[in-house]
């Protein structure tokens, strides 16, 4: 679990590219979430101009699209850092000291959960359960899973995140 490769290069906003993504998915039943996932995968977030575009393509209001984007924790307004470290803060991990682990992380990076380092290298986030409750405390780093964490292992992960 030492995959420190950066996430796939993000595309810059391009309405034509977004329209193409929407067109590929709009035929599905209930296409809005799959479309939003696809947009975020491509551009790293749901850029504001994506909302009216999706609304027009699906024949729903901009308010409806905006409401969905803002309801779900996963959808971002701005792209995250080049690496994302999600530390579990739910009960099973709490019982193994995840609160102290998060405090340590926040102190050492000078960030709060949900924030990104000034150089855009790493974003730290709280997550509520990764299903790794029997190997708590746990975290997800750029999509790879890590269990039985302690301060030292967390520091190693952060240090290995390429600039």
């Amino acid at each position: 679990m030492r995959d420190t490769s950066t996430s796939p290069a993000l595309e810059t906003w391009d309405a034509a590219r977004a329209t193409e993504l929407i067109a590929g998915l709009k035929g599905q039943d209930g296409p809005l979430l799959p479309i939003l996932h696809a947009i975020q995968q491509a551009f790293g977030c749901i850029p504001e101009p994506a909302e009216p575009l999706i609304a027009a393509e699906l024949n729903i209001t901009r308010a409806e699209v905006h409401g969905v984007v803002t309801f779900y924790h996963d959808f971002r307004r701005e792209p995250a850092g080049r690496h994302v470290l999600k530390v579990c803060r739910a009960e099973a991990c709490q019982s193994m000291g995840s609160d102290a682990l998060v405090s340590h992380l926040e102190r050492s990076l000078g960030l709060s959960c949900g924030e990104t380092t000034a150089d855009g290298r790493i974003t730290i986030e709280a997550v509520y359960c990764l299903g790794l409750c029997a190997v708590a405390p746990s975290a997800m780093f750029d999509g790879t899973v890590h269990g039985r964490l302690n301060e030292q292992r967390l520091d190693t992960l952060v240090a290995e995140a390429k600039p």
Binding site: L33, S95, V127, Y128, C133, A134
Partner: protein, 517 residues
């Protein structure tokens, strides 16, 4: 002849280095010129032994664990020369923690290659679907009803009755929806099935489709489970190619298509009506019931919504008969429950057993107490909305009604241990805080009550008039319990009130840890 090794690719095993172990074995095999076949399986659920490596021998599969990369060379020596090794656990099936279980749903998990439909078939898979196709929908429903299977997502509603309701509903288009939004902390059974035995879930859903006459299904998986999403997506493709999905499933005249849908980080979407809204592409706002989803569910059509474990229990019931399943259990809780031991636990993992063990047996005997070695002070059963139990209530049998009688719930079967350093006021505060974070906002008791709850808990420690604050919390819990639209707001009173009732000393003026110093 090559040496066959089995190494899990379950995310709980990956999180503690299973991929590095597989890579180390592959490299060591190369440098020794030793032909190795490495099969990636799910996990058997003995997580304190992960990464657990098994070797095929004439005496069956022999286990070693927990393995670190540095052990790989000495392990290969021990395996090839048949000499003892300090990580040797003997035949995997004979590990006492596994042998004591009754694995009906998890019979294949950790054993087979989850990507192989042939493996699934060779280990008894698809018998349930074949029987369902031969007896027909009505008989399938009666079989599920008489098995006594109740919804394993937490609500415990009889699965067969739900299916009958959907079958009797009018509508040309019906849906099967699998709730795989396993958001409860302390639970991972759904994830293990999806990563370790995905065809079981597909077979269970296909049987449901036959029973109610549905032609389309969705598996709604939370985005926090990327490995489960990948394995299920692949399994659905394989199932389609293998005739388990598509036209004429299982030799019947019935066609059934299945699709994976990915959540977006909302806990409340584990509530069935909110999940349906989400599938339809809307905010995950809870719907008022009635209408029941079985009458008007996804896109307004009759829909069966069940948890992963409910669907996964069905193939056994069909293959072996309702009685074989119902023979296990106690009272109105029939069959087996995959109990998930989590948090600060020595032997953490998945323990499938008949209903009826006491909480004390589960915590002390099976779980082995805490991983830190300190005394167990509180046990939260049933996820973030479940009650905290003190040792005084450890005689409670694991059964839907017995837990309800003690103001708790078994929920999805998660059991999270806390040692004597836990601050129960903090846990009560977290229950409100989590509810405030995840509330869909539709009903006032949940939307406002959760935030007021956080504020009021904070005031307990900062004001002198604690009695009136505690009275306010009790009042608030009463309002939330009886006034909320769904289980999120409605069940938050369980952790809060159990903390307050069983651990009143933590609601004193001084924080517990300071008091201890």
């Amino acid at each position: 002849m090559s040496l066959r090794l089995f190494i899990p690719c379950d995310s709980g095993a990956l999180a503690v280095g299973a991929d590095e172990i597989a890579a180390a074995f592959a490299a060591a095999g190369n440098s020794r010129n030793l032909a190795l076949e490495i099969v990636r399986t799910g996990s058997r659920g003995l997580y304190w032994l992960e990464p657990l490596v098994e070797v095929a021998t004439a005496q069956g599969r022999v286990a070693f664990g927990p393995v670190v990369p540095e052990d790989v060379d000495s392990l290969l020596d021990a395996i090839t020369k048949q000499t003892p090794h300090r990580l040797a656990l003997g035949p995997a099936e004979n590990i006492p923690w596994l042998k004591r279980q009754t694995r009906l749903t998890f019979a294949r998990c950790g054993v087979i290659d989850p990507k192989s439909l042939d493996d699934y078939r060779a280990y008894g898979g698809l018998k349930g679907l074949a029987r369902a196709a031969s007896v027909g929908g009505k008989a399938v429903i009666e079989e599920v009803v008489s098995s006594g299977l109740r919804g394993r997502g937490g609500a415990g509603f009889p699965t067969g009755i739900k299916w009958r309701t959907a079958a009797d509903a009018n509508g040309a288009q019906k849906y099967i929806v699998c709730n795989a939004d396993e958001g409860d902390s302390g639970t991972f059974a759904d994830r293990m099935i999806m990563e370790g035995d995905p065809f079981l879930l597909i077979e269970g859903m296909a049987i449901a489709a036959l029973a109610v006459g549905a032609t389309k299904g969705f598996v709604y998986i939370r985005s926090e489970y990327p490995h489960a999403i990948a394995t299920m997506t692949k399994a659905i493709q394989t199932a389609r190619a293998g005739g388990l999905l598509g036209k004429a499933i299982g030799g019947s005249q019935h066609s059934f298509e299945l699709e994976v849908r990915i959540g977006a980080g909302s806990y409340v979407c584990g509530e069935e009506t909110s999940l349906l809204e989400s599938l339809e592409g809307r905010r995950g706002i809870v719907r008022a019931k009635p209408p029941l989803p079985a009458h008007q569910g996804l896109f307004g059509k009759p829909t069966v919504v069940n948890n992963v474990l409910s669907f996964a229990a069905v193939p056994f019931i069909l293959a072996e008969g309702a009685k074989a399943y119902a023979d296990f259990g106690m009272g109105r809780s029939r069959g087996t429950m995959p109990i998930q031991l989590a948090g600060n636990v020595r032997f953490g993992g998945l323990f499938e057993t008949a209903f009826g063990l006491t909480l004390g047996e589960i915590v002390d005997d099976i779980g082995g107490g805490t991983r830190t070695g300190r005394p167990v002070r509180a046990v939260q059963v049933g996820g973030p909305l479940g009650a905290y139990f003190p040792r005084a209530l450890f005689d409670t049998p694991f059964d839907y009604e017995a837990f309800a009688a003690r103001d708790g719930l078994i929920g999805h079967g998660g059991v999270v241990l806390f040692d004597d350093r836990v601050d129960m006021l903090k846990q009560a505060r977290f229950a409100f805080e989590f509810c405030a974070l995840e509330s869909c906002g539709k009903c006032t008791p949940c939307r406002i009550g959760s935030t007021r709850g956080v504020e009021t808990v904070d005031l307990i420690r900062t004001t002198d008039d604690r009695a009136s604050r505690i009275a306010l919390i009790k009042d608030l819990c009463n309002t939330m319990k009886f006034g909320s639209l769904c289980a999120l707001g409605g069940f938050v009173p369980y952790p809060v009130m159990s903390a307050l009732t069983h651990f009143p000393e933590d609601f004193d003026a001084t924080p517990r840890q300071q008091a201890a110093e």
